[in-house]
Every structure is written in C-alpha cells, then in structure tokens.
Symmetry: C2
Subunit: 213 residues, 2 copies
C-alpha cells in the first residue's frame, strides 16, 4: 500500500477519546487508481457477514463489482446518479447494499430490523475498510429501479445504499466543483441533541456541557 494523501482537519473532535478507526474515518470522494486485492475484498465481505442481527437473520445482501472486471464495474456505475458518478467511478470496488424485508424461515415481516441490521453490517464493513487503509463513501444517490432491473432483484428486498470503496486519492484530482467540498471541516449535532435521560429531548447529564460543533 502506498502513502495516501491526508487532510488535517478531518479527525473527529470528541470530549472523550474514541478508537482511531472511528475517529479518523471520513467519507472521502477522492479515490486513487490503486487496485484493491481480492483478499482485501474478501476481508470486507467477512466483516459484514459476522455482524449481529435480530434473531441472527442477517438480512443484508450485497451486489459487488470491481475494476478487475471493467464491464461489471461499468454496469454498476450506470446505477449511480450523475452527481455521484463524477467521483465514484474511480472507486476500485462498488457495492449496492440490499435488505431482505421478511424473515427467511417463516416469511414474517422483519420490518423492525431489516434496514437497521443492514446498516450495521455496512458499518462493520466500513470499520474493516478503514483498518485496511481503504476509504468508503456511501451513496443514497443511486438509481434503485435500475439496480432492480439490471440485477433482477426480486420483490421482498429493499435496495438501500451504494458503497464506493477504494484507497484514498488526491483531492486536487476531483472535478473543480467538488474540490472545496472535500476540504470542508466535518460537523455533527451536539451530544445534547442525541442522548437523552428521563424524557425524550432532555439531554443526558453527560451530554449537557460545552457542546461543540
């Protein structure tokens, strides 16, 4: 793995330390052309696979395309909206995450947890990717109807997000309109807007003091 460009304003600003795999993760648009090995892709798959889920249902499914097979990669690029194609086309690995709507065994709806658990599996994959020096940027901006048609995704499965995965690239090689956005500082809601105690909306005591951006 070669050395990858970094930006110095992207580490999470926190009131208590968090693990470097979480603190240093951010969703770059800039990807390099460095190939991602098959063993690395397999590691990403395994990381998602071993995530916890409600009743161990494992409702997540993924369609995977890499630049090792340019036709397959191009086909998946065609399922990404135009705005995201400007940067995602360069990602060595593309995936579409899909949630199974019903439980496998009895066919009962799993609507409480199918999407939630699929999100958890993706986040495991993102952590594993970060551990391997990869960058992941997820995309809501895909074309679900086209995904369903091209890949014959049956009813009973909900098409969730696209995933662009690859080694980080040089932000200066992005199209001009994206260069500045790539360098913006990251922001989050304050803890007091997210963590409550006693009543919904009432900040937890730990979340109360000196909120930062």
């Amino acid at each position: 793995m070669t050395d990858h460009p970094t930006l110095d304003n992207k580490t999470a600003v926190t009131r208590a330390a968090i693990h470097e795999l979480l603190a240093n993760r951010w969703s770059r648009r800039a990807f390099s052309d460095e190939p991602v090995s098959t063993d690395t892709v397999l590691s990403l798959m395994e990381s998602a696979r071993w995530t916890a889920s409600s009743n161990n249902e494992q409702p997540w499914r993924f369609i995977v395309a890499t630049r090792d097979d340019p036709d397959a990669h191009g086909q998946m690029v065609s399922c990404i909206n135009a705005g995201n194609q400007r940067w995602a086309t360069r990602a060595w690995v593309l995936m579409v995450g899909i949630a199974r709507d019903n439980f496998d065994v009895e066919g009962q709806p799993n609507n409480r947890f199918s999407e939630y658990d699929t999100g958890q599996a993706v986040q495991s994959l993102v952590t594993q990717a970060t551990a391997l020096g990869l960058n992941v940027r997820q995309m809501g901006g895909i074309l679900p109807d086209r995904v369903r048609e091209i890949y014959s995704v049956p009813e009973g499965y909900t098409i969730m997000a696209g995933l662009a995965i690859g080694y980080p690239g040089d932000p200066d090689e992005l199209v001009e309109a994206l260069r500045d956005r790539e360098r913006l500082p990251r922001s989050r809601r304050p803890l007091s807007a997210l963590f409550f105690s006693g009543q919904f909306g009432q900040p937890h005591p730990l979340a109360e003091s000196d909120d930062q951006p």
Copy 2:
C-alpha cells in the same frame, strides 16, 4: 478493568482476516457488576455521534440509563420484555435507540435511511465498546409502546432496539436456561448467500468456494 471470562469458541471463523474488534465481538448475555465510568459512556456517545449518515442527517437518538442512578435504570429495565430482563437487568448501561423518521430541515420523509443510519450509529458504538473491553447485546425484545409512554417519545420517531452494555460476566452466573445458549458456537450464512455478482442471487466468485458454517 479486571480480567473478564472468555469463551474460546466465539471468534469469527473467516476466510480472510478481519480486525480483532470485529472478529472477537459477540453478543454475550453475561454481564458483570463492574461499573462503567462516565468517561467510558461519553466515549460510546461520541463514537455513535461521528458516524456517517445520508445528508449528514444523523437521525439517531438514544435514551440512556446507568446503574449510577438505580431508579432511572429500573425504569428502563421495565421497558425490556421478561425474557431479556433475566440477563439484561445486570448490564451497567442500558440504552434505547430511536430513529427520526423525517429530515430535520424540510420535514421530508427520510424513510430510505433513518433506520439504516441508526443501525450504523449503533454499530459504531458497538465497535467502540469492544475497544474498551465492554460487551453489547442488542434487544429487539423491548416494549416500544411503554418506551414511548414513559419517555414521551413524540410521533415522527421510531423506537428501534434496546442496548445492554457492560463488562462481560461469568456465563455460569446466568439463569440455568441461558447458560448453555451462551456457550453455543456462533454461526452465519455462507458468503455465497450474501455477496452477489452480475445477478441477484448469483454468488460473487470470491464468495463461491468452500463455504463454512
């Protein structure tokens, strides 16, 4: 932090190595009475907070109760179903994860990603917990109507999962009916059932060979 009991058959069996924070995570029912410090809880909060989300909406919300405040903890225990109360009551930290249904700014539905992104935030928290030696077991078996009533959760928010968080305990101290379940090997669907290429349901070449349980 004291030494915690381990079971030797719980590490994920994978065809490519995954990070120890992912390989060694599993959802124990056995918790110890060791307190979780406020700084540690703050670290869990920060890890969830810095997760990626669609449009950076951060739809996740959490109600938090710890055994530092036995009344608050007991109130949250009363929102857990009887089966899970047998083990979850001992967890030092309890949380309920909640998803905001609509985007904050325009009020448009965020139904594609509100639950998915909340799952991602929880998985970040689980990774941070693992890094700090904590165990997390999530619970679908909570009482959402009771959560909504006790904590005055408004319409427009969906109550997702309960989280039991604490230091790992001794499986032999679980009630008898749970002791053996705690020692069962973990299992997952084969990669070939999860990762596809070209067509939905067609195993990706990397996922094809020698599937293991």
